[in-house]
Each structure stands twice: as structure tokens, then as C-alpha cells.
Symmetry: C2
Subunit: 428 residues, 2 copies
């Protein structure tokens, strides 16, 4: 039986889960995959942590040089994260001819071209299923499951922290700040939550997935990014009444006008399969010209679910050493003919506060009309407090575009008869 040696760089949440999965399943993989996968080496600057999860003392390496010089190591797993030492370590491993499996979304988003160039140069594999959507095999699906299709659209709930917060807000009516605190208390959100709540994490993943889906690099810088800090419980509640559910969606579209890539709070119909993806679950909804709609759903984070993706890549690499994937084609930027659409089309939910007197509604509608924005539905709500001199007005529009909506909102705000309180994009 073929013997394959693995090194794990970093045994925190994901690396620790990877160590456990490989050790616990060693016989299982011998039997089912006809390969003996052995953890040969572990590198972690916290030796105590490594020992406490059962790494044998003799497997603990003291430097990356020691790891990559080890002739028994065939595959190097990088679960450190970030673009610091992780990048140097991966390059060192590739230069020594080791195949690399990584869970590092920021690094793959920003430096895949450098890493893939080095992998190609040394005839190594480079795998990163675990970089996106935890245990859900979305990268394998894009590569080998739906590659027959022009993928025209991708909509994903690909950040568990924000989905947990938004689910809590929807279910309990809590405001953002309170839901965030609860998520932090339960360990779903970091003390400094910016990577999640400001949409960075989702944008890294969207860059990776849309680059793969659309066969051209979609750089992080081309992604329009809005987080969930400004989401109001009142909009979630009004949306619900109208049959919509609010999610932080990562959206990639490939239309005749070009590529759109954006991360922002979005209303989707409550009957849409993505609407019932709750708590820390993730899902990606793809549309292709042959397959129509498909959705993949599962745990988007966590120790063992992410380890499932890491170890599935390790097994694939161990049992298919004859093939190499190099899917990004080593570019840092999009191909020259790629166009990106900034002024994208969307339908909108708009909440205004307006003076409660005859003629105001007509004037507001007139302003929308002037900017070519046609209206699906208008609902005037009762005063939120008796002392308010204005009432909430909810407007759902047909498809318009970003510029028209921004201009209409500015005009309404300048008119003195009403103010735009919230704008949420709507996808069907």
C-alpha cells in the first residue's frame, strides 16, 4: 500500500481538527482509499497546544526548514491563516516539491497566482477546497461537477458569523449591537469582528469562487463590499411582512455587460432556498446554462467540518499524484477582455420617513419616476411613536440600477418632504 506523509503547519482550530481526522481515520483510509496517510510532522509555535491534542513529541518540528527537508513528508497542510508566514511556508514547501493543501482564503484570494506559479514550476499540486465554505465541496463542484456550464450567477451565504447574527436579529427582533454581543459571547464572532461583519471574509471567498466560476480573475479590489453593521431590525421586520428575508449575500454575476461581484445585505424571497439557511450554516446557489439552479448547503466553518475539506483534498492529492490542478491560470488580474460592472442593476427595498400629508406620496413617486425607477409595491406604515411628525414608507422597486437609486435618494433627501432611511438591494 502506498504510504503518504503529511505535515501540518499550525494546529489551531482547523489544523487541530485535521490532525484528529487524519489520526482517527488512518485505518479507514487504508481500507477505503488504499493509501496509508501518516502525520509525519507538525509545526506550531505553541508546543504545549500541539502536545495537548496528542501530537507525539518526535513529530514536532522546530522550523519550516526542518519540515520541508523531511523526505517522508509528501504533502504539507497549511492551517495558519493570513498572508504572513503562511505564504513563506507554502512557497518553501512548493520549492521542495511538496504538494500543498491550504485552508487560507485571504492568501488564495490575494496570492494564488504566485503560489500556483511556484506549484507549476515544481510539479506540485495546490489544493484549497477548505478556503471556501468549510466542509461544503464547492470548489470541487465548480472544477469537476458543473464545468460543462456557463455559470451565469452565484449567490452565497458564505460567512457563518454574519448569518448567525442576522438569523438572531430576524428571530428575536434584536438590534445589531445586541446580536453581535451574543454571538461574541457564544464564540461565533471574534472580539474584533471586522473581518466578518464588514464583509472581508465573504469577499475573499467570493473572489476565489467567482474567479473559478467565470474563468477569469475577479480580484478582491473589484468586489463591492458592504457589511451588516448598518442593518436595522426594523427593516428585517418590514421585509418579512412583504415576504422577504435579509441575508448577507456574496453575489457574482456574469452577464453580457460584464462581471458583477458584490457582498452586501440583500433581501431574497422567503421562499427562496437560501432564505431558510439559518444560524452558522452556509450555502451557495449557482445557476448554469445547462444545470439550471443548484445549491450546496452545509457547515461553513468549524474544526471538523473544515478539516473534512482539508483531508478530502489530502486524500485526493495522495491518490492522484499524477494530476495537478492549476485552475486560476496564474494571473493576478482579470484577463484583458474582462469587463466589470460597477453600476449594476438591482431591485431595491427603500424605507423612507415622510411627512404624513396629502400629496407627499405622489411627489416621492414622482422623483422615483424621474430617475426611471418603477415601483412594485408601496406600504405606508403607522407612526412608530405618537410624537413623530413623519411616518415610515416602504417602497419595493422593479429592477433599476445603483446610480439611478443613489440619485433618486439624494433628490428625495434634498426635497425636504422625506428622508431615505435605508436602502436594501433585492434579489429574486
Amino acid at each position: 500500500m502506498k504510504r503518504v506523509g503529511v505535515a501540518i503547519l499550525g494546529v489551531g482550530v482547523v489544523g487541530g481538527g485535521t490532525f484528529k481526522t487524519l489520526v482517527d481515520h488512518r485505518e479507514f483510509y487504508q481500507k477505503t482509499q488504499n493509501v496509508d496517510i501518516v502525520v509525519e510532522s507538525v509545526l506550531d509555535n505553541n508546543r504545549e497546544r500541539a502536545l495537548s491534542i496528542g501530537v507525539p513529541e518526535e513529530a514536532l518540528a522546530s522550523s519550516i526548514a526542518e519540515v520541508v527537508a523531511n523526505p517522508n513528508v509528501d504533502i504539507v497542510v497549511e492551517t495558519i491563516g493570513g498572508c504572513g508566514v503562511a505564504k513563506d511556508f507554502i512557497l518553501a514547501a512548493l520549492r521542495q516539491g511538496k504538494t500543498v493543501v491550504t485552508a487560507n482564503k485571504e492568501l488564495i484570494c490575494k496570492f494564488s497566482h504566485e503560489l500556483e506559479r511556484e506549484a507549476k514550476r515544481n510539479s506540485c499540486g495546490l489544493y484549497y477546497e477548505a478556503s471556501c465554505v468549510g466542509g461544503v465541496p464547492i470548489i470541487r463542484t465548480l472544477l469537476d461537477g458543473v464545468q460543462a456550464n456557463h455559470i451565469t450567477s452565484m449567490m452565497g451565504i458564505i460567512n457563518g458569523t454574519t448569518n448567525y447574527i442576522l438569523t438572531q436579529m430576524a428571530q428575536s427582533g434584536a438590534q445589531y449591537e445586541d446580536a453581535l454581543k451574543e454571538a461574541q459571547r457564544l464564540g461565533y464572532a471574534e472580539f474584533n469582528p471586522t473581518a466578518d461583519v464588514d464583509g472581508f471574509d465573504a469577499s475573499y471567498k467570493l473572489s476565489i469562487l467567482s474567479s473559478m466560476a467565470f474563468h477569469t480573475k475577479v480580484p478582491f479590489a473589484k468586489i463591492m463590499r458592504e457589511g451588516i453593521r448598518e442593518v436595522k431590525a426594523t427593516d428585517i421586520a418590514y421585509g418579512k411582512e412583504l415576504g422577504y428575508t435579509l441575508k448577507l449575500l456574496a453575489i457574482g454575476k456574469n452577464t453580457e455587460k460584464g462581471i458583477e461581484a458584490r457582498v452586501h445585505p440583500t433581501f431574497i424571497p422567503s421562499t427562496h432556498p437560501l432564505a431558510s439557511v439559518n444560524d452558522s450554516y452556509n450555502a451557495v446557489f449557482l445557476t448554469g446554462d445547462a444545470v439550471e439552479d443548484i445549491m450546496l448547503y452545509g457547515r461553513g466553518a468549524g474544526s471538523l467540518p473544515t478539516a473534512s475539506a482539508v483531508v478530502s483534498d489530502v486524500i485526493f492529492a495522495a491518490t492522484h499524484s499524477e494530476i495537478k490542478y492549476s485552475t486560476f491560470k496564474n494571473t493576478a488580474t482579470a484577463s484583458p477582455e474582462t469587463k466589470f460592472v460597477a453600476n449594476f442593476e438591482s431591485a431595491y427595498y427603500v424605507r423612507l420617513s415622510v411627512e404624513d400629508r396629502a400629496g407627499v406620496l405622489a411627489k416621492i413617486m414622482g422623483i422615483f419616476g424621474k430617475y426611471g425607477i418603477s415601483i412594485v409595491e408601496v406600504a405606508q406604515k403607522g407612526k412608530e411613536n405618537e410624537t413623530d411628525d413623519r411616518v415610515p414608507l416602504i417602497v419595493i422597486t422593479h429592477k433599476s440600477n445603483e446610480n439611478a437609486m443613489k440619485n433618486a435618494a439624494a433628490k428625495i433627501n434634498a426635497s425636504g418632504i422625506g428622508a431615505v432611511e435605508s436602502i436594501v438591494r433585492v434579489e429574486k
Copy 2:
């Protein structure tokens, strides 16, 4: 650029979609996959049909011998179906060293061992993603996406016709016969619907998927099969009141006691992700020991969605001719150590009609208790007609097992105080 020739055997619904997809996307695959895939040959006993979808006269072959003798054909796509000529044609292609891609679930279920033996002998690939769940890449996922896991459970809605009928029954309250007629009128069900409504189609697919998930052959004969002919609209309605949705589920479990494989109408909580898979959509919900729960959702049938799977296999084979999959390990039967569980455990929904007098409920509960069946919930309903001398009684049980439930039902029926009208298994 590498040139790969394809032959298509049978250009009906799926074969026709495959032809269209390959022809329409030829340049796209040149650009995105760096391979030129050309339809070299088409075999169909209805030449008019082939010509009408655009097959050029010169590509029309007159015999399988002509197809497999063609040196320009590298990959043979079989989209005829059934276990007749399809099998002979595939074997002929493999013997000539052609890689085969098939959408044939019955054939793969029953004869994969023979086909794979021949593929191995001739160093050919054999691919069958399209045999299960249309365009949803469930086989690729089991092979290369979650293979790090012990898969402990699989629950699938893997037959579109029955899901369409059950969705209609749930939404309109129609009885089975009427919903079937409507499905036939719309082309969702065949004139002779037995393959779908009696669960054969779902069982073939469950055999393929559970064999792959559990790493041992799960033969068709080991699958417990109950179709939807006996499903009553009244049970769907009572279940809904209690928070359950009725689906025809294909269930595979791998427990310490052994493997269970069964296809039957099942109540699942209406909050379960499978409960909102409606109409002709399909989904497979997997549980693994690392990945936890994941679900794949999409079109389980149809011309282009199924062609998506066929053509994705064709591209994979064309771009990875160096690797061969042979996942069933060529066995006709399960490995000797495999145990199958016939008397499986389940929770149950039971609808009885009982005499409406004091003491009857206690006696019924006593009989369940005698067979070790404990009760979660009991709901006595009003008479359905004023003239009835009995009233409906709905019972939801904790986990019990098939034998206990059958014995308890027989005892109740023999008691004279009530009759068991329906038993539906319940999964959480």
C-alpha cells in the same frame, strides 16, 4: 490543443441535451478547458429524430460496430437506458478501449461490477454522474468531496416525479390518483408510472449512492421499497398540523448494527432542509463524522440538467485521461463482513380509527406499551362524517422498530376496539 472525439448512443431527452450542450459549448470548452471536444458519431435507431436536432448526416452511424471501430472516437456516451442493448454497447465500447460516460442508473445499479471489470481490463474510464440526481454532482462529491468522512447517513429526495406528485397533494389536498393524472398530463409522470411511483427509480439510485458512501455494494435486492400509491391526502394534512412534511425518501444508514437501505414515504420535520425541496427538485442530505450535515439540491432530471452531468464527466475524462475511477471495486454483492439491517429502528406516525368511548385510548396505549413503543404525542380528531362510529386518532412514537410496530398494529387490529389505517415512518 488536445482533440477528443465523442460518440453519443441514443439522442432522446438526455442524449439530445448532451449533443446540444457539446455543440453549443465547443468554443467555450476550448477556451476554459483547453480541449476541443467534437461529436464524431451518433447512433440512434430513429434517424429522423437525430437529423431534426441537428446531427449532421455524415456523423450518423449505422451500427455500434461502426461507432467503436472509429479511431476518432475516444469517449462513448450511452444515453439509451435500460439493461438491454445499452449494456452490450457499453461493453463493446470498453473492449475497443473507449472511455464510457453513462446516465443509466438501472444498468450501473445492476451491472457496475461487469462494466468496471471490463473498463479495468482495457484501461478505460467509466463515469456515471448523470445516473443519479440529474445535474447535481453527488457522485463527484462522494468520491472527491467528502471522502474524508465515515458517512453515517444519507437521506435523499431522488425521484422528481414522486416529489412533484407529493408536493401537489400537500399544496392542493388532492388525492394520489388525481395528482398522478395531473403529473401525467404535464409530462412529469409516464403513462405507466410504476418505475417512479413504486420506488424502483429511487432504489436504483440509492443502491449506487449508498454503495459509494458506505464502501460496499448495497444491492438493489437489499433495499426495502415502498412507493407512494398508498399515500393518503388526509395523512399529509394531519402530519402538517403536527409540523411534519411527507416526502418519498431514499434512506441509507451505516450504523454499528449494519447497513439500512430503504425507500418509503417518510415524515420529516417541516423545518428540515429537505422539507422545502418541492416539485420536481431533488436533494441529497448527507451526514459525515467530520463534515456534519451537508445538502446538495437541484434538478434531478430533465434534458439539459442531466446533460450537464454527462458533459461534465466527458470534460473530466477528456482532461484527465491519466486517471481512471473504479469505485465499486467490481463486486456484485456486498463484502462478506457487511451486515444489512431489516428490522431497522424508526419513529412512526400512526393513524388509527377508534371507538369513541371511555377507556379505548388507554387500551390502545397499553398495546403500544406492551411492544415497547413509547409515545411522543397523541391527537384525537373529530369524526370525519357525522355517521362514522369511529374517530381518527393520530399517534407519533419515539424510536421503535419495524417488528414491534407491525406486531402492535396486528394486535390493535385484532382487538376490535380500533384499526390501524396508516403507518408512516418518521425521520428527524
